[in-house]
């Protein structure tokens, strides 16, 4: 890997930024294109499909995955991995229902409190990874097991209570004919894209992911930045938990399980490198929506759960094979040749 990169730079001209932009743009275009083809193609399955209504449903369902994938993506960007996401979603959900206990009272401080608690737990993971040099895989895995176990003990095995009616209403509300959760999704994506790609914080996170030593030498406090990424990830997962509890009008202890591996899959399918330093949140959003679309359509087809699972796995595999660097290289070479010749 490193040998190839060296050869790239030895050509004399620094084309890395340009080529990265190129491959990112191709990835995002391919993923969103695939999603649109899938949605339009689903018309053949049922006439009720392929319209705006179904698109709304898919966006709505994928919003939960998008929320937690943003955090996962940031942690992966700084060369980590967050395996505590499932437990953090459960924690967010459990705290929402038990602290609110079905009333609107205290909504204004409970939601921020849950986000603060989540961020604090994420910071502990970040602290372990940076200051204590525990591998991210183990630190977040251990944290996830601990938090899950605490949720289990806190609820004595059965989460009680309901989220605030106002939250549940929000999940069903419409603004200008668009469901509120879809608007929430768009706002979240906008903020996240700006944060990751346009702010100083975002650029610094890329710098840390690309080369932690170089980032440190150039005066960035890599430890603080990494801890920040873990805190944001835990906060996003907590937020996902709140949204899920509001949507399902209750919490279960296993509510986060369906999001851990898909959050990694969305990031990877979206073209980010699992080794860090490379990726774009729009790609992740595309990955999350693509996976959700696929799941929805496969469910509508009424095929066996087994085949559904196999197809989902195969799609991830195909995406991985297509999105390899060498393929971009081939596309670039081919495009260069056709433009000059």
């Amino acid at each position: 890997m490193s040998l190839e990169q060296d050869m790239d730079t030895s050509a004399g001209v620094d084309t890395r930024a340009a080529s990265r932009f190129g491959s990112e743009a191709i990835t995002i275009a391919v993923i969103f294109g695939l999603t649109i083809v899938l949605i339009l193609g689903s018309r053949f399955i049922s006439p009720a499909f392929g319209g705006w209504g179904q698109t709304e449903t898919i966006l709505f369902l994928s919003s939960f995955l998008v929320f937690c994938s943003f955090g996962q993506g940031l942690v992966i960007l700084v060369r980590g991995l967050d395996l505590s996401i499932a437990s953090m979603i459960t924690l967010g959900g459990v705290l929402t229902t038990t602290w609110l206990a079905g009333s609107n009272e205290g909504l204004w401080y409970v939601v921020p409190a849950i986000l603060v608690v989540s961020a604090a737990i994420g910071s502990i993971s970040g602290f372990g990874v940076t200051m204590l040099r525990i591998p991210p895989f183990i630190m977040t895995l251990a944290m996830g097991i601990i938090i899950y176990s605490l949720c289990l003990g806190y609820t004595q095995g059965t989460p009680r209570g309901y989220p605030a009616p106002a939250l549940a209403d929000l999940m069903r509300a419409h603004f200008l004919g668009v469901p509120a959760p879809v608007i929430l999704l768009l706002v979240f994506v906008a903020i996240a894209v700006v944060l990751q790609s346009w702010t100083v914080l975002g650029r610094r996170l890329y710098a840390v992911g690309n080369n932690p030593i170089a980032a440190h030498v150039s005066g960035l406090s890599t430890n603080k930045l990494t801890i920040g990424a873990y805190a944001i990830s835990a906060m996003c997962a907590g937020f996902t938990g709140i949204a899920l509890a509001a949507y399902a009008n209750g919490a279960t202890l296993r509510m986060g399980d369906d999001y851990l591996l898909p959050s990694i899959a969305a990031v990877v399918v979206g073209g980010s490198s699992i080794l860090g330093g490379k990726g774009n949140f729009l790609g992740t959003v595309g990955g999350a929506i693509l996976l959700t679309t696929l799941g929805t359509i496969l469910a509508a087809l009424g095929i066996e759960q087994g085949w559904k699972t196999i197809i989902e796995g195969a799609v991830i595999l195909v995406a991985l094979i297509i999105l390899r660097e060498s393929v971009y290289e081939a596309i670039r070479v081919w495009m260069g040749r056709s433009s000059t010749g």
Binding site: I146, L261, G313
Partner: protein, 337 residues
């Protein structure tokens, strides 16, 4: 530190002895986890004297063996510098196959074993091909193969059911000559095979690739072949884990492998294998897995609510990694003097 700086030259011999001891400890994470395991046994036995009966030892070993085998397999992949999520899929698939196509008798048990080894080898080879030759990151590639395996398991068996052949479920969970638990024999066999494997060229290549793949490549090691082999070994061991899980549960479940996914990484971490690759070993993972299972029993016997088992598992995982790093740091800082 400053004290060590002023150490007279005459102490060097003694210091290097100490260093060798500490480096030995660090490279053999197995030592640390063995101490933890023995301590847990003492607590367990003092809380519950019946724990020392042949029956309860046998059942504890039977409970631990599937996780031990899975962790042993995972170690191969972690050593070469990667992660293998397909462990959950292969265990589920093996369990379902053994429960849906039972073949009776000792010969039948061998036929079933051949089936699960075949499955493990096929999936492991696919993983190895994707990671080593297609150069897809291991977490991503094995995530995909895991999901596909789970799908195939669901196709074979929709809901928990089926039954495992009597020879497997009775003989393999019993004791040889009524004394030595079969589970102990299998665990020891894996350890012996590992010790032999570690000295082969592939075994040495595995460590070299995990420590520094570029350097290994330059010194003439076929890096891709070593990675490929690691995934194949892992797959076969997961298949065996599924086989022994079937023996223990005597039934099939298409999601039987899921609990193993995170626990087997926990066991590898406890066993002192470094997640950045290149150091550690299977023996530590075997004992690490046994420790995780024993810990559940101990916490239960000491009256800790089973809800909080996870808190202990998580904290011990972190402490084990910290301690291993501390020992390594100490031995290294002395070595530099």
């Amino acid at each position: 530190m400053s004290a060590a700086d002023t150490t007279p030259m005459t102490d060097t011999a003694q210091a290097s002895d100490k260093r060798r001891l500490l480096t030995g400890l660090a490279s053999q994470g197995a030592v640390l986890i063995t101490v933890v395991y023995v301590l847990l046994w003492i607590i367990y036995a003092s809380e519950q004297p019946s724990a020392l009966s042949a029956y309860s030892i046998e059942s504890l070993l039977n409970n631990s063996l599937p996780l031990m085998l899975a962790a042993a397999g995972q170690t191969f992949v972690v050593l070469q510098g990667g992660f293998d999520l397909s462990v959950a899929g292969i265990i589920s698939l093996s369990n379902v196959v053994v429960a849906v196509y039972p073949v009776e008798g000792p010969f039948g048990a061998l036929v079933n074993l051949a089936m699960v080894v075949g499955i493990g080898l096929a999936v492991g080879a696919t993983n190895g091909f994707l990671v080593a030759y297609m150069r897809i990151q291991s977490i991503a590639a094995t995530l995909a193969t895991m999901i596909i395996c789970q799908g195939i398991a669901l196709l074979i068996l929709k809901a928990p059911g089926g039954y495992v052949s009597e020879f497997i479920s009775y003989e393999l969970t019993g004791s040889l000559f009524g004394v030595v638990p079969v589970a102990a024999v299998i665990g020891a066999a894996v350890a012996v095979i590992w010790l032999a494997f570690r000295r082969t060229n592939t075994g040495i290549a595995l460590y070299a690739v995990g420590r520094d793949a570029a350097a290994a490549e330059l010194s003439g090691i076929d890096v891709r072949r070593a990675r490929f082999a690691a995934f194949c070994w892992a797959g076969v061991l997961y298949g065996c884990a599924g086989y022994m899980l079937s023996a223990q549960t005597a039934t099939g479940n298409p999601s039987a492998g899921e609990p193993f996914l995170l626990l087997c990484f926990a066991a590898v971490a406890l066993g002192g294998t470094s997640f950045s690759g290149g150091s550690g070993g299977v023996i530590g993972s075997l004992i690490g897995a046994a420790t995780l299972m024993l810990m559940q029993k101990v916490l239960f016997s000491t009256g800790v609510s089973s809800f909080y088992t996870g808190v202990f598992q998580g904290v011990i995982m972190i402490l084990a990694v910290l301690f291993a790093a501390f020992v390594q740091y100490m031995s290294r800082s002395r070595g530099n003097r």
